[in-house]
Symmetry: C2
């Protein structure tokens, strides 16, 4: 290979892939050749990356010839099939799907938290976490290191772009249908009537509503999204016995996942100390001046890299517990950015080794 | 007094007052004369109650002459001044503000839970709870009676009508300003720019956003709304040592407060047993078939009386904990309906006594 490693971006035309191309154009350039790859129906399109117009290549085995790092943002079943093919062709795969996250031989990496895990990849695959987990984990990890995390109770406020471009289109279409009718939302069913059956990827209308469901049904009433948050948080923090209850809820926000966190620690916490920990935590910005209207919100956090943390309070009835609110851009840190950061760790390793 | 007691509705022209007039027209009629009362600026208007057109009376001491029950839905400071005046004039006051809720000599009544408290009113005043507390409490109380409640962690998804008509107008105006622009919500600050400075009663835009703030700042970073939920829940359930952490968040929904609840009990819970408890609980409707898209949502619960409960799961890591999602109409059970129910208990008492 040349001085700088070759990168393939698989799923480059999707909602996350689009942000990935922007990040590759704006972050420090560590890549040699970049190839953008998508399904057959996107072939013929071009994408701008680092100021150059790149043709979209069709996903096929030989697209990985000479590739050092392949980033995947595609559905689980596509990753399950194609990440191993990329590895067979000599690439290291960084996968943003759920296909490999809980595989014991695949590390689940958040560069601010467990960067050393990136080298522990017997299958040649490194996994990126779920967007809801990533929205909160960079704020939780430094508090865990300070106080020893025992339990998490979280409730999410997840944006529609977590369900891709189809999710964004569904919400924006619905908003156009309800805007201007000042009776909607004040009588049972009238929002459903106005919106009709075209719900996009969601089980219910999102405009003027919140939908306590994300993902698919798993055992005992839990959603797949809620189990991901539990299992991935445990794996990233290296806490296999951490108690976690999550309720995942979709809200009418375009981009930016918010999470209300109740974190119980092994020792008493001091709120001002905790603020100091967060002020110095990588990937975190503390926004906590409620008296002047400053708290983390999706309309501010969207398009930015860090986790925005605020509303920090020590629980009144438990001196070992902290309550706070955290917002992260689900397309950036929640997926494309964390994937890019992992890939950059691999690039640094390959460049050093070369 | 005649056969049926005389009722005054103070604050009859507001968002809650409007629902109150609807309820008085649709519920079993237990009232003799009804007077609708508001501030001076509403005098000259008329309101329809029980099919009759009633002139709005100006709030003044003599408006309470001959009144048996006076329901107040006005700001705290107006209630603080005027509820005692109504009592001096011989009325029993049922107050929906925060002015008296934590007064030891004022019962805080939810008729499904503690109806006997309605007679324990040394000041002649009975308080109605906060809308967020009321959204969840009728679901929590029967589970407490079955399993013994020890701790609550809750996160709310509160609608804009909790801030009155001004809140509803603000959201609907904002939606008209953002609808049709498909770039909004995808870049930091562009929703703020589109909406401008006219935020209504909120500290930030609500369209395409969630705002982790309701009420005013209290000690140690807690909002008044979060403290109300804690203190009122303890008082209604008669559990002065109950551990509660609440995070209150405003969402772009017109009417219907949702709450994600994590409830820890003294004994192990069985999810199917808990469902059975909720099926038989007064004021509760169980909506818990996620496989067919049935879970509680504001667009369905709005305009209805019960608390809609669903997404019931036993915590994976704590057999004594239940997670669930509950939605109630904040203008009905959350304020006007519960006030009407309390007033009806008083009416029954007066009618029996007469």
């Amino acid at each position: 290979m040349g001085d700088q490693p070759t990168l393939a971006v698989v799923g480059a035309t999707g909602a996350v892939g689009t942000v990935m191309c922007e990040l590759l154009s704006s972050r420090r350039n560590v890549w040699g050749e970049i190839r953008v790859v998508a399904s057959k129906r996107s072939v013929g399109r071009t994408l701008f990356v680092r100021g150059a117009e790149l043709p979209v290549l069709e996903l096929a085995p030989d697209v990985f010839d000479g590739v050092d790092v392949a980033m995947f943002d595609v559905p689980d079943e596509v990753s399950a099939e194609w990440a191993p093919i990329a590895v067979q062709h000599g690439a290291i795969a960084v996968d943003n799907s759920g296909a490999f996250r809980m595989d014991r031989d695949v590390p689940l990496v958040v560069p601010e938290i467990n960067p050393e895990q990136v080298r522990n990849r017997p299958r040649g695959i490194i996994a990126n976490a779920n967007c809801t987990t990533l929205a909160m984990i960079v704020a939780i990890a430094p508090l865990h290191h300070e106080y020893g995390l025992k339990e998490l109770v979280i409730a999410s406020y997840q944006s529609v772009s977590g369900a891709g471009k189809a999710g964004v289109d569904a919400l924006l279409d619905q908003l156009q249908r309800v805007a201007g009718d000042r009776t909607l939302g004040s009588r049972s069913g009238n929002v459903r009537q106005a919106i009709g059956d075209d719900l996009g990827p969601f089980p219910a209308p999102l405009a003027l509503n919140v939908v306590p469901w994300a993902g698919s049904l798993r055992d005992a009433g839990w959603s797949s999204e809620e189990l991901k948050v539990r299992n991935e948080t445990r794996k990233i923090l290296g806490l296999p016995d951490l108690k976690i209850s999550a309720t995942c809820v979709r809200v009418p926000v375009v981009t930016g996942h918010s999470v209300a966190v109740h974190a119980v620690f092994g020792t008493e916490v001091d709120c001002e100390d905790a603020r100091e920990v967060l002020r110095h935590a990588p990937g975190v910005i503390l926004v906590d001046e409620p008296q002047s209207g400053e708290f983390p919100m999706p309309i501010d956090a969207v398009g930015t890299d860090p986790a925005w943390v605020g509303r920090l309070r020590r629980s009144i009835d438990d001196p070992r517990a902290l309550d706070f609110f955290v917002v992260g851009d689900n397309l950036r840190k929640g997926s494309a950015l964390n994937t890019a950061q992992i890939a950059e760790l691999v690039a640094a390793e390959l460049t050093t080794r070369a």
